[in-house]
């Protein structure tokens, strides 16, 4: 299963690019010229995202550095302890929607301190692998088209994250907890 997927992952981009170029040649599209005309946009999109990305990443980084996460952690620790969620995994759960690199860092620490075959490591792996950095995705995607009024998008992301964590705990208990 994993090998098949790996092969698809490696081949999918060459296949897409070849199809685009061969079909373009068949339709007599001037490839180089057309490519560069479309590609010009790339730089400006990246520049356009900057204010949104700075706004959100700075707020998130400050929030993490202030110790506010430790506070949430202290509140949630007792009820979650009863569900057999390891304390380190809880920190990872709170960090997950805020920062992708910090989550991978925490995951690495959990694997190191608890062991790669521990329940904490497996549960954390399922949580990390099944979710995204909600705040970053919001900033990039909405920033690229200048959307500042998100409506229900953030709430949807957070609710889906919470749902995902609950499901991850249930599924991991079924698969790994002994």
């Amino acid at each position: 299963m994993r090998e098949i997927l790996n092969t698809i992952s490696v081949w999918i981009l060459p296949v897409i690019i070849s199809v685009i170029l061969i079909f373009g040649a068949y339709k007599r599209v001037p490839a180089y010229e057309t490519f560069t005309r479309g590609a010009k946009e790339g730089f400006w999109i990246a520049v356009k995202i900057i204010p949104y990305l700075v706004a959100i990443m700075v707020a998130v980084a400050m929030f993490r550095a202030s110790g506010a996460i430790d506070f949430i952690y202290e509140i949630l620790k007792v009820p979650l302890d009863k569900l057999n969620i390891p304390a380190d995994t809880l920190a990872l759960i709170i960090t997950r929607p805020l920062s992708g690199s910090a989550t991978l860092g925490l995951f690495g620490e959990i694997v190191n301190s608890h062991g790669a075959d521990s329940y904490a490591a497996k549960l954390s792996a399922v949580i990390t692998g099944s979710s995204e950095t909600t705040f970053y995705v919001l900033a990039v995607y909405f920033g690229s088209v200048g959307i500042t009024k998100f409506r229900h998008a953030l709430l949807t992301g957070i609710l889906a994250d919470i749902f995902g964590v609950v499901l991850a705990v249930l599924v991991s208990r079924f698969f790994f907890y002994s």
């Binding site: 079909f23 700075v58 690495g108 190191n112 995607y141 998008a153 992301g157 995902g164 991850a168 790994f176």
Partner: protein, 191 residues
């Protein structure tokens, strides 16, 4: 978002004052603004490349063909998007790239799809449409078939059987993905 943003920053200062971490917070502020710019700039290369490719596909008419093929499926989720819109093919490409863990390729497709949806947005250009929120929900849910970075860390750390996490992760990520779309559909009536 105005409220969430203010809340994050003000609570940071309050907690920093209480915890005696003001210096950390100020450092985080300076450092993260720099890394945000670096991340935006690191997107330029791959973004430029894919936008060039997509433009060839668009001019040659390949995008229209692909859109016609994917419209029946995507229209189930994006009912208010005009049929045959190139948003459908970009959303399909964005979803497929994400599913395969090709995040770098997924972002330009997703942004292209957002631009298509913004072109169809006849109301306020600063307010997200229902379709935009659904597309965002699909992306924040983070659906992928194989969690490559997690597997890499487990493998390097000497896990006995790192691949055993693939199935449970796939179960969680697929159900969460569907659930995210449903939540978005329900909430769009409220907001």
């Amino acid at each position: 978002m105005n409220f969430v943003w203010l809340f994050l920053i003000i609570t940071s200062f309050i907690f920093a004052a209480v915890n005696g971490r003001m210096e950390d917070v100020v450092n985080a502020m300076l450092k993260s603004s720099q890394s945000a710019v670096l991340i935006a700039f690191s997107l330029i290369g791959i973004m430029t490349f894919w936008l060039g490719m997509v433009h060839i596909a668009k001019v040659s008419g390949l995008m229209d063909i692909f859109s016609k093929l994917t419209t029946p499926f995507m229209w189930l989720i994006f009912k208010d998007v005009k049929k045959g819109s190139s948003a459908f093919s970009n959303i399909t490409l964005n979803f497929s790239a994400n599913a395969l863990g090709l995040t770098n390729a997924a972002t330009p497709f997703g942004i292209k799809a957002m631009q298509d949806l913004q072109n169809e947005n006849k109301k306020d250009k600063k307010t997200a449409t229902n379709a935009m929120c659904t597309l965002l929900a699909m992306n924040t849910a983070g659906f992928q078939l194989v969690p490559a970075s997690v597997l890499a860390i487990l493998t390097v750390s000497g896990a006995k059987n790192p691949t055993e996490i693939i199935l449970p992760t796939l179960i969680v990520t697929s159900i969460t993905f569907i659930c995210a779309i449903i939540i978005s559909k329900i909430l769009e009536r409220v907001f």
